[in-house]
Each structure stands twice: as structure tokens, then as C-alpha cells.
Symmetry: C2
Amino acid sequence: MRIVVDAMGSDGQPEPDVAGGVAAAREFGDEIILVGDEGQIERQLAQHDVSGLKVRVQHASEAISMTDKPSEASRQKKDSSMHVGLNLVRDGEGDAFVSAGNTGAILAVAMLHTLRRIRGIKRPALGVMFPIAGHPMLIDNGANADVRPEQLLQFAQMGSLYVERVRGVQRPRVALISNGEEEGKGNALIQESVVLLAQSGLNYVGNVEPKEFVRGETDVGVTDGFTGNIIMKTAEAIAATMSDLIRQELTASPISALGGLLAKPAFERVRRRLNPDEVGGAPLLGVNGVVIIAHGRSNAYAIKQAVGQARLAVQHDVVAAIRDGVAAG
Amino acid sequence: MRIVVDAMGSDGQPEPDVAGGVAAAREFGDEIILVGDEGQIERQLAQHDVSGLKVRVQHASEAISMTDKPSEASRQKKDSSMHVGLNLVRDGEGDAFVSAGNTGAILAVAMLHTLRRIRGIKRPALGVMFPIAGHPMLIDNGANADVRPEQLLQFAQMGSLYVERVRGVQRPRVALISNGEEEGKGNALIQESVVLLAQSGLNYVGNVEPKEFVRGETDVGVTDGFTGNIIMKTAEAIAATMSDLIRQELTASPISALGGLLAKPAFERVRRRLNPDEVGGAPLLGVNGVVIIAHGRSNAYAIKQAVGQARLAVQHDVVAAIRDGVAAG
């Protein structure tokens, strides 16, 4: 397998991106194609022992940064690492593309300029594995701010298929995320989508509130990209705020500071259980190729995990499954 | 001042509702009118020393429960404690109504059957003080699942006015909650509302992500009721999940359990700082009277705090201010 890794993606690029790619080559034995500025990548590679590993470099003269405007950058920087990397996948020279770069730009480059969407798929969607018990998928997480019910239905179908294939969950439970489980709750979009989901043949278990989603009472939580992104960002904000408050209060007295010290391994385990790096990036579903988007703050471990996610998506032939099972239906 | 308290509201009614009303009468010296089943209320009152307090009972033969459907119950149970209590306010026999009951039912009874909306207000909205540093207001928090930009503008105006009057914040910072601060982010509703907010004369500081809202970078966060409710419920779910995980991991080894014991006062302070009871209930803005909705899980303290919030809204004549400043404008 050949996995293309965007070396110019993460906030700390190219260091974690290259290190993660090398770690993936070592762990999985696959060929890793690092895309980006050749000189910078080679300098990073010099820090690693890559003997025996299948790592190669593909030069790209431009890079899209986190502060670039997605629509402009995707049109103007035609030789960006994203364009070059995604074209390798389009042309069959790579099996998947992994990037920790500007999400909006990856979406734009993949959907509008390189891979393009699978015929019959109305809108590709970003499916994030939520870093809590069971890692339910939240789809869409920001590719589409405004959607119609038929699009939500496809998100549900693609999410269900991914979870079934890649995670091996039989007939994944699918739910719409709403502000209440009762009939009549939800906005107009939810109320219209309920009908489509109920007739979809999916294992639709109704609507769930964020509480039930977080408890893992569904395998796939379906939502528009605006709401999905707000959920993700609220969750991150609250987790960070609680951590800060606990740290503040623990240092407020010597006794609680001692308590905090003794409990440190426990806190470390909590942190690890909520660590988004574990889940290995979010698949962009509905385009003609495997694309996995990792967090901008990714370290090498997170990049390696994202490559792991990409491998699974390739192995289980998710793109063909969506082409045959969703787009054709 | 005469504050009407729904004795049949909370999950544990009538005990916390009556106890909270009595505590408010004692702390504030106001007249508290407890509305609900006379026999049940009297039995609860017998547990308290109410000598010297201005507490009286107003019988209501029905009660709307948490599982009642708001639209049906508000039409059918015309002698519910909500109807009776809100009519006291409508008729000038009470200055404010406080309830920890079924939020949807309070909205329906207030807006459609008793107080009704202020002329010129398109949609009343629920403004929740978010239990984090600075207690920014999130408006709307569930009264309106689908809204138009002109409605969001009024939510912003009502929220700003409330925070300015009741909390004494000069020219409160007002922001739209979005999935990104950059221009072009947000769904269609947000993008159309930006124009209205910018021309509103409010202290509009742009769009904020949940992260900035939680950090207190705005005084009023404006959103549709669906998204607002999802934010609130996600925040509650993540806080609860983290607490559970920490508890689990602390008990996983004797040393971290000892650490947890020593750090207990620190955790207690964190819990208190994030306690929604402190903020004292959410005002329903845009109806002809002061209505404060407390959490269904309210204890007596939370009910008392909600009465405190109601007193402030009455003292600062928020209803007249909305009538003159928002509806007339």
C-alpha cells in the first residue's frame, strides 16, 4: 500500500508530519510518500533512520497554511502539497491521502480540484470519530454548513457504511443529533430527515441528544456540518476549561497540590482516554479516494494513527462501497 | 415585590420548589406566592418555620409534568400551576414567575395562553447565563429551533439589554456563535445575520467559536435555539463525562484514591464554579412579564437563586425596557 502524507500540513509542519510518516512506514511496512518542499522534508528525514523503510519524497513548490482562505488558496496554489498529494491518489500512484492541514482547504482541493465527488453523492462529508467510549462517528463535522434532508440521508448511509466496514460493527446504530428525543423536537431539517432515515433501511434508532451521543448510545450521529462542528468545538472547549479549572484549584493549597501529584497517573489516563489523537483522523467521505484529515495540532503519533486509519479505509475499500452502496442507490 | 413560584415544577416537586420559595422569602423579604396543589404545598410548608415570612399559597388543580407534551398540555391543562401562576403576573397580582418545570410547556403557556409576546417582538427567546467565568448569556437556548436573521437581531438586542440592565455591564459585547471567526464561515443564517448585527448599533464584536464563548470573550452569544440548546447540552454532557472518568480513574489505584481524597476540596471548588444553580435560572425574554426558568434538577438553593434573578429583572424593569428599546425600534 502507498499512503501519501502531506508534509506541510500540521501547525508544527514539517516536523511532526515527517516524523509521523516515518513512524507509519516503520510500523505498517507500507510505502509512505511525503509531499511538500523537498529541501525541508530531506532535512527532517536526516533526523531519522529510514534504512529499510519505504519512504520517498514528492516535491510540491507551494503550501497552504492554516490562515489561507480555503477557496482562494485552493484555486491559486495549484502546486500545493495538497494538490500534488491528492493528484497522486487520483492518478492511482497513491492509495490514500493524509493531511493535518487547513480542513477547509483540503475539502476544497479534494472536492473541486482533484479527486472530485463520487457521481451520485450530493455532498461529501467529514466523519469524525468522537474521542469517547466506543468512538461513535459524528458526521458531518464541517464540510457542509447548510444541508437538505436528502444530504443528511447520504451522510447517514456513508457513516454507517464506514463504521460497518472499517470498525466491523454489524448494522451500526444510526441516529440524528437533536435537542430532544421526543417527536416534534428538532429543527425543520431534523423533522424532515426523520422520515427519510426511518425509510432508509439503515439501523435508525431515532434522535439522540448530545448526552446520549457522548454516552455511546449510537454508532453514527448524523448532523449538518455547522451543528457537528459546534458540537466538536464545544466539547473541546469544555474539556479544556475543566482541565484548566482543575489545575488552578489543585494548586490553590499545598494539600490539594499533593493530592494532585498522587493522582497524576489517573489524570494522565483520563487525558489519554479523551485524546483525539488516538482515533486517527477524520475520513472525508464521498470523494473519489481515501482522504483522512488529522487535527492541526497533530504530533507525530497522531499522524501515524491517521495513516493507520487511512490503511483501514483502503483495505476495506470504502470508496468502492460508497460508490456501489450509496451513490448508486 | 411579589414573586410567583411554581410549586409543581422541578423533577423533585414540590419539595425543592417550596423550600426554595421559603428560603427566598427569608433572604429577600419579598412576598412569595406558591402556586400548585394546596394540600401538597401546605404539607411541605409544615416542614418550615415561616413565621414572619410573606408566603402564601395559590391553589392550582393541575400540574404539567416533564413528560407531558408541551403543546397539548398547555392547551388542555388550563388550571395548571403554570397557567395560574402566569395569569397572576399577567393580571398584576405578581411581579414575576419562576418555574423549574417543563421548559417547552412554560414557553407555550407564557407565549400562547397567558402573558403573550410583547407587540413588535417576533419571537421570545430563552437567555441562559452560561456557568463559566463571567457568566456570558447564550440566547436563544431552545425557544426557537428555526429562526430568521431579523429574529436573531432581536435576540441580540434583548440579550444585550438584559445584561446591561440586570448585570450592570456597560455596552455588552455581542457576538454570533459560529463555527469559525473568519468571514465566510457560518451557515446561511449566520452570514445573513452578520449584516444586521453590524448595523444594529449594538456593541457587536463579530463571530465567536464555542472556545471563545466559553473563555468569556463576549457578554452575549447569539444563536438559534436549536444550536444554543445543542451547545448547552454538549457542555453538560462533556462536563459529566469528564467527572465520571476522573472518578473512575481515581479509584483505580489506592495511591490515586488517596490523591483524590486530598484533592477533594479542590474538586468541590471546580464543581461549584461550574454549577448552573449559581446563575439562578434563565429569563424568557420578549413576553409581557418576567419569567425565569430554572433547571428541572433544581434543588431549593437553585430555586432561591432563580427568585433572586427574577427580582433583579423586576427591579431593572427589563420588560418595559424591551418594550421601549427593542419592540418599538
